[in-house]
Each structure stands twice: as C-alpha cells, then as structure tokens.
Amino acid sequence: MLNNLTTPKSDFDVIVVGAGHAGVEACLASSRLGQATLMITSNVDRIAYMSCNPSIGGLAKGHMVREIDVLGGEMGLAADATCIQFKRLNSGRGPAVRGTRVQNDKHRYSAHIKAKLSQQPNLTVMQGEVKSLILDRGICLGVNLQDGSQIFAKATVITTGTFMNGVMHFGLQQISGGRIGDQATVGLSDQLREFGFSVQRLKTGTPARLHKDSIDWSKTEPQYGDEKIYPFSFRSPLKFQLPQVACYLSRTTEETHEIIRKNLDKSPMYCGIIEGIGPRYCPSIEDKVMRFADRASHQTFLEPEGLDTDLIYLQGISTSLPEEVQLEFLRTIPGLENVKVVRYGYAVEYDFIEPTQIWHRLETRPIRQLFLAGQINGTSGYEEAAAQGLVAGVNAAHSLLGKAEFILDRDKAYIGVLIDDLVTKGTREPYRMFTSRAEHRLVLREDNTMDRLGDLSIALGLVGSEAKTKLEHLKSRRTSLLESLQTEKLFPNAETQEKLLKIPTTVLNKSISFEELLRRSEVSCSDLKGLNFSIDEDPNVSEPVEIEVKYAGYIKRQNELIEQAKKSEELPLAPTLNYGEIKGLSNEEVEKLNRIKPRTLGQAQRISGVNPSATQAIMIYLKSQQRTDRSQTENQSEFCEGRGRRSQSSVAIGTVVPGAGC
C-alpha cells in the first residue's frame, strides 16, 4: 500500500508513542511482524504501569485477555506470571458469562513486560516527549520531539492514554498531568483538532492508596481466590507462579455518605469544573452516593498492590474530593478508623479522539499511516487498551507489508465487538466492554477462544513457533477428546449403574455414548473419569469440549442467528458510496453514513440514528445500481415478475390498474 510513499528518510518502520498497555502490545505486534519499531515514552520507568487497579480481567475483559493471548499478545502471560489472586467470576453461571479476573503484583507485572520488550528483536525503546506529528499531504511521516529533533517512520501509532491535555483534579486544585508523577502531552491534540479531528473530553478517577499497617484487618472480611488456576494464556504453566494472597471486604457507612454529601461543593465533578464525561459503570464514590441515594452502604475491596509493597488499593472508592475530606470519610469505613493514606485519590480529565474518525484497522480516516489505540479512542481499561494496541500494531505492520487489513468480526471476538462499536457508534463516556455488548455472546466464550482464533493466529504469525505447535497440539487433543466422547459407549451393567447412582444421575436402560451422558446437566467431565473414560484434564482441552457438548442446543441456535445476521454483515458497502443519492434517507442519516462509511450493511444498521427503513432504502438502492450496471452491458428485456421490470405498456394512459391510487 505504501510502496509509492516517498519519505525523505525513515528512521523506523513504525513508531509507537506511549508505553501503556496499548503501546506495549502495538510495539510487540509490529516488531514481531518484522518491522523496525521504536517505542517513545515520556517515562521509561512507567512501562506497562498499572495506573489504577492492580488487577487484570473481569467479565468480558477476561475474554479479551484470552483473545489477545491466542493472537500472540503479551498481556495474558504477564498477568499469569504475576498473579497473586485468581478468580473465575460467575463460575456458577452459564459458560458465556464466566470471566477470569486476577489480582497482580503491579511492579512485577511491569518488570515482566519490560523484560519482554528488552528481549524483543526489531524494537527500540527511548524516552522522549512527542510534541507533534510530521504531516505531509494527509500522511503521517513521523513525530517532532520537544527537543526539536525529528524521527521519521512509515507508520505511527499513538497510544497516549489519558496524557493528551491531561489535567488532574485534587479537590478544587488542578495540576497538568496524565497520571501522578507524569507530564501531560500538550500540543498533539491541538494539532489533530486543527487538522479537523473532533477532539472531546473524558474523565476518569482513581481511589486512594493506603498503608497496610494502618488498617485494622479484623474489621474486614477476607476474600480468597480460587484454589485452581485456569491461566489466561494457553502458554502459561497450569500452576500459580507467585504466592496467593487475600483481598479484604469492607463497606461505607451512613456517616461516610454524610461527609461526602456535605462536601460535594468541593468535588470538581459536582461543582462543574470537570466538563468531561465519566464512566457510568465505574462511578466515583461521590456519584454512587448521589445516584443510589437509597443505599445505606457501598462495598469496597482492599486489594494489595503486590507482594513486596505496603500499598493497598481501595477498589470502588475513586474520588476527587480534597485530601482532608478523603481522610475524614475514609476513617468512617470499618477497619480504616486510623488509616494512613499514602496517596490520595484524584480525577483525570483528558482529550480523546472521537473514534468514529478511525477505520476498523484503527488508522485515522483523515490522516493516513496514523493509527490510534487505547484510551485516546475513548475506551477505559487495560484490556480494552491492549486489545486495540495489538490490532493497531498488526495493521501498522500490514500496511507496510502490503498485507490485508486485520479486522476481527463481531461473531469471532470481543475485540471485534469493541472496535466495531467504537468506529460505528463512537462513545460519549469511557467505553468498557460488557458481555451484553456482544450479540453473539454464547459463542464468544473464554473457553473456546482457541477454537475461535487459533487458526487465524497461526496465519497472522505473531505467536512463536513453540506456541504455534502448542496451539495445533491442543486443537488436535480437543478433536480427539470429542471423538472418543462420541464413539465410546457406556453399557448398562451393574457396576456402571452403581457408579451412575453415585454421581448421582439416572441409570441407563440402554447403552449410550459418553457424549450423551455428558449432556446431562448433573454430569461433568470429571465424573467420566470414574467411569473408565480417560479425560484430558488440561482445561484448555476439557472445558471447551464439555461446554460444546452440554450447550450444543443453544450454541446451534446462536450460530443460526449469526447466519441470519450474515445476510447483512456480508453485504459490502463501498467507501465511495454517496449516501446523499439514496432516496428515503434523512439528512441526519446521510450525514452519519457519509461520515462513518460503514464497511457492510450490517455495520450501517448499527450506527445510532440510522433507522431500519434506511437499511431497506440502501438495499433497494444497491439493487437498482446492480441493475443499472447490468443493463448497461446487456440489453435486457422487460418482464413482469417478482424482481423483474414491469412492462411499460401495462400502465399506458387510460388503462389504470384498479387500486393504482393506493
């Protein structure tokens, strides 16, 4: 694609600005695809830093970590290696809504990633402040640094997180910066705005960090993790790599709420200083107290930030109230009566680029060879950021390699849902992934990530040869487990019946396959062991097979819905299509369609404000176009049939068809 691009000189193939979770995956993807890659960060000590909570995963987020992992990203491996508490959320519920979340040792996490970066061929890491982009006729040619130097590259990926024009709020006091201890990136968003980008403002917040020795743990409730680990990464060992610790539960009190209510005028959120929109699902404690006024208490988890640190993260209590107010209300929470705060909570307000201005490949529409990933696109969360980083890194590399754009479909991955949502609908608040955002949730499970993306990953080539072999091996083991479940039979002899009663499940009246037995809701894979069936106990093998067998009926129905949706998902819309020509579209619809330029009719349907009748109109227009195209080549005869042309003579003057006036 860029063969004809002549740059004065290219120091690198790809520059990645930022070293957060998006930047890391982008760099690794690009360099692993053979591109000479430069990572520029304002602070090399904060690479892959967990700026907020010391944990990875969660419902729908855990799904994305596994997807990143199968595709060859690093997040899953790092999270497994530094896990100090492992939990499978919703383990009692159906397979599609189970999600993995781990607590991490945040410093070990960063160290793990830093080590990976330093071992990575084709990758250079440098510390520096990016001032602006080098632009030439709508193409990004590299970056200008604060010190006046220029670095040229064929593609640039921006992953600046909350740093663009970042402002931190501590009560009514404001300090420029993207994170405590780090400078904001100033100038970049102004340049993009000047170029015509719509740049908006969002906010997020973080809670206080407490000293562990100042907490009375006896007044809190310990929360332990699961005893068995099912690692994020198929490449990780099936065991804990660090000692496991507990988190502790406590709750706010009426007194806490009273103090917060009394001091709302000192909250920048509530006195109108912050213009940015915060996340509704991860609200500050001020928000929670005001929005759920009838609730006497909100839970909070006290989470250790690591094995060797004294800091405790106070999950659920993010705030931007002044320090003295924070201390006052914290001390009303049981266990925190004498708490020492090491660092107070604060809010960050930052610029983001309205994401409908980027393509699915995460390249911006206005500027070629410029890719955006992470919070700059309006998302929230490490996992959402890393997922975009990987996709942006791959696409930056692909654009140089002349390879097809890398886009994941909505029925294949949460990452596909994430990016399609962003570029189609945009976002007004920090976008966080939820299982409900995936309309094909039942087939987008954690357990079947390898089945969904394994082959694609091998073709993509980010995983090393060892991991590739493992992917293939696990796949063949799953196939053979399913085969033996289908072919091996269980006969109704006395011994078998006795064992079945122990499970307990009903006895057999005729021989059945193990697959049929496993379909019974009360029978699990581990029960089959006792019936002399040899089960592959690797959860990467047994879990997906068991779920596919148990929920075959629902999975089939979900697949039927996917097939139905394909009718429109697979109908391409040319980026050159001028929607203004289509009759029956409102001005608003025309404006939106022309701006977003959906890839398919399916995507067009998802644009908010585009009505169902618009889809019909587009469809009809496309047909007429096809028809015009065809009639230009063949002199078609007129005929009256369902899709055919009606004979003109039948509507000649004077022979009005009855009912024509309807």
Partner: protein, 481 residues
C-alpha cells in the same frame, strides 16, 4: 411497482392515478404525488395558488392549457409535504364521476410531466419515506382487497397502526426485560440487585399474554379476511342446494327433485352483517354406485374438515333416519347446526319438530358416548323452508351471532400469515423463557430466548433488514391477483 423499487430516478417522478374505482359514480378522485405535484396541478388548474395551504380545498375550472377548453369543474385538495399519506407534496383532484373526464384529466397530467403510478406506488412511497411501517404497508394491501366490511375495518385499523402500536408495546417490554437481564449479568459482581425475579416474571408473563392474544387472533383475523366457511351436508334430496341458493340469494346450485343431483362441491359467498361467508354445498351423503357421485361424496367429507360451521340439513317433515343419526354422530366434533328444511310440508309446528328431533337424538344409540351433545344442540336446531326468504335471514343472523366474530373488535388482529408465523415463534420463545426463569437457569440462555423473541417482533414490524420480506410484501402489490 417493481421498476420503482429498482430504479431510483423513478422515485423522483411525480406520479398520478385515478384513485376511485372505474365506472360511473358521483365523483372521481385523481391523486398526484411528488415534488412537482403543485406545479403540475397549476398547469391545468389556473385557480390553484402558487403557495397553497395544506389540507385546504380549492375550487375552480380545470382546463386544457393548450386549447383553454374547460374539462370539468373540480375541487383540488392540497396536502403539504410531510403531512400527506406519501409524505410528499400531494394534490387530490375531485372531478365529476364520469370515467372519460377522469381519464382526460389524467392524460393532461401525464402530458405535462406526470407519470402514471404503478400499483401500490403511493403506499410504497409512504413506506420509503418512513410514513408507515411494513405492517401498515401490508394493511393497505388487505384494505384494498377486503371483501367485507369487517375485513376492511380491521385493515384500516392495522393501517392506522393498531397492530403496529401493539407490537411496539411488546417490543418495548421485551427491551425492558432484556436490558434488566443484561444489566444483572454485567453487574453481577457489584452486589446490586438490578431487577427482582418476581418483577421480571410478571413482565414476562404479561408479554407472553400479549403475544399469545395476537397469535390467537389470527384465527379470527383469517375469518375476517377470508370469511367463514360453512359446509352444507346431509343425505340426498333434503334440499341442501335450495338452501344454498336461499342463503346466497342467487341460483348457484342446480335444484331438481332427483336425489343425488349435486355431485361436486359448489361454493358461493355472501356478505352477512359485513362479514364474508362462504357456503359450500356438498354432494348428499349416501352409499352410491355412481363413480362421479362417489368422488363427490368423498369431497364432501373433505370439505367438512376445514369448515368453521357445518349445517346438517334434514327433512323436518320426516323423522331422522338411522343413516342420518349415524352421520350426525360422526359430525359431533364440528361446529354443528341442524337445519330442518321443508317447514312448509308435514303437519307439526316448528317447536314440535325441534322437540322431536332433539328427542330422537337423545334416544339414539349413536349418542350414548357423547354426553352433553344434546344440550349443545338445543340452541342449534332451526326449522326452515328453503322457499322462504325470511328464513334465509334467520339462519344467517343466527350464524354470525354464534361465531362471536366481534369479540376481537377492540383489539389488534393478525391478518397476515407472515405475522402469525413470526409471533408464533416469539410465543414459543417466551414460553421457554418463563421456564428458564423459574428454573433459575443462567441468564445468558434466558437472554437468548428473549433476543429471538425480540427479533421476531422486529421482523414483523419490518425493523430488521430482510430483503425477502420486502420482496414478498411488495410483490403482491406488483402482480395483483
């Protein structure tokens, strides 16, 4: 129609058509719709203002601008863009009901740039301009084709959006349930109870009730649209064909005194209190040696099966034969009426004849396994004469009253088989959803069931892209019948 669907340029044309039926009448209406509607009207109606007021009628002489000769005195009614049926600028020109006048006006319009509308094109434009939804578009079709007042009424209500309104209500509740279900999945770790199970169950039960009511109404909808089917049966020569002729008020069946005259199934329709009723006369039921008559009798049995009502006709001047009683027992499952013909013959009065018949039935061995059959029949024995027109009225009135067709009057009714299919699917989804909810199954499965139900409702409303549905609906406009 289709060429409109196929050709975008045609959608920019100003279309015109005579909107009233062909033939001589009081007035005829010519409808003109499109961007040039007012300009076009002004060319032939010099009294029509440059900027007419919407929903206002203008009176004047319509003339041929080339010859300046007056064609007719007319009233031109203007509907502004956005406030008309098609959502385009529309003018309706009312002229005198002479077909040649209407045709001349139409010809003037076309020679000044108008185009004759295709069948259904006004509706198509209303749909394309978002003025009506798919359900309403379909109702326009039924409205045109309605063969009775009841059917027309229902179509009109559908066009006015009764069914759409009901479906949108259903859609809203479905979305509410889904949203709460989804939220309870996504916030499961926050320790917040998003929705109480009992609240959800109430809503879902309500939803199922609404959907089921619509599904059930299809039977009624079908009755209203296609009419009732009433089969006349009985042994030969009791006067079934005479009765048919009486009921439809014309001589449809050949009547002779020879038993077995009717050898095939004869159908004739009439309108009873605004409802279409199809009467089916069948070959008399008897053991016959005649090949043709045998086939006819076979068909008679078949015809009884799909009937909304069966009239068992007998000769009331005689008692019922064993053969007839056996036949009656066989028909006990159907919506049966006993029509005793030949009131004018024989001695007994009407009441005595009714009592005699009922007594005979109650004492017959064929009915000893059918308790309650006699009671059911009590109100359903009519003694008539096929020669008396008044008796025809009595039978018809009785029939409509009993079938209770009006019970759905205040509610949206399903007409189209397409709607019925979709909503039946949704009903089954709701059924399963409620089971899953009570079993406390994982909410993701419940969500799938509800999502499928939602898609069915949206399909019915034409909210989801489906080329095939669009084709099916507008094809009927195109070809006609």
């Amino acid at each position: 129609m289709r060429n409109t669907l196929q050709n975008k340029d045609r959608d920019l044309d100003t279309i015109c058509a005579i909107s009233t039926p062909q033939g001589v009448g009081g007035i005829s209406v010519i409808r003109v719709s499109g961007p040039e509607a007012t300009a076009l009207t002004r060319k032939i109606c010099d009294f029509f203002p440059l900027k007419p007021e919407s929903h206002r009628a203008y009176y004047g002489h319509l003339s041929d601008p080339r010859t300046a000769s007056v064609v007719d005195e007319v009233v031109a009614l203007y509907f502004q863009k956005g406030r008309s049926f098609t959502a385009e600028d529309t003018v309706e020109i009312s002229c005198h009901g002479n077909p040649s006048i209407a045709r001349e006006i139409l010809s003037l319009l076309t020679s000044h740039g108008g185009r004759i509308a295709d069948r259904g094109e006004f509706t198509y434009r209303a749909f394309m301009n978002g003025r009506i939804d798919l359900v309403q578009a379909e109702s326009v079709l039924s409205l045109i084709e309605s063969q009775s007042k009841a059917a027309a009424m229902q179509s009109l209500r559908q066009l006015q959006g009764d069914l759409s309104d009901e479906l949108v209500k259903i859609e809203d509740i479905l979305v509410w349930c889904l949203a709460h279900l989804e939220a309870s999945i996504d916030f499961s770790s926050e320790g917040i109870e998003v929705v109480k199970q009992s609240d959800l169950e109430t809503k879902m039960g309500d939803l199922k009730g609404k959907i089921d009511k619509l599904v059930k109404s299809f039977q009624q909808g079908r009755l209203i649209k296609d009419g009732l089917k009433v089969v006349l049966t009985g042994i030969p020569n009791v006067g079934k064909s005479s009765l048919l002729n009486l009921l439809v008020e014309e001589d449809r069946a050949i009547v002779t005194p020879v038993p077995g005259t009717t050898r095939d199934v004869i159908e004739a329709s009439t309108n009873v209190q605004g409802l279409k009723v199809n009467f089916v006369d069948t070959a008399g039921l008897r053991v016959s040696q005649d090949m043709v008559e045998k086939i006819g009798i076979e068909k008679s049995y078949l015809a009884q099966r799909g009937a909304d009502a069966v009239f068992f006709v007998f000769d009331s001047s005689n008692s019922l034969s064993e053969e007839e009683l056996k036949e009656l027992a066989d028909l006990s499952e159907s919506n049966l009426y006993l029509i005793g013909n030949k009131r004018d013959q024989g001695e007994l009065d009407i009441e005595a004849r009714r009592i005699a018949v009922l007594k005979q039935v109650s004492q017959s061995i064929f009915f000893k396994d059918l308790p309650g059959f006699c009671d059911k029949l009590k109100e359903r024995v009519l003694i008539v004469s096929a020669l008396d027109k008044k008796d025809g009225e009595v039978i018809r009135a009785n029939l409509v009253k009993r079938l209770e067709v009006e019970q759905f009057e205040d509610q949206a009714v399903l007409f189209q088989a397409r709607h019925y299919e979709k909503l039946s699917v949704a009903s089954r989804n709701m059924e399963r959803s409620l089971v899953l909810l009570r079993q406390q199954a994982s909410p993701e499965f419940l969500a799938l069931e509800m999502k499928e139900a939602l898609l069915s409702v949206q399909d019915t409303l034409g909210k989801r892209f489906d080329d095939d549905v669009l084709d099916r609906v507008f094809k009927e406009f195109c070809i006609g019948k």
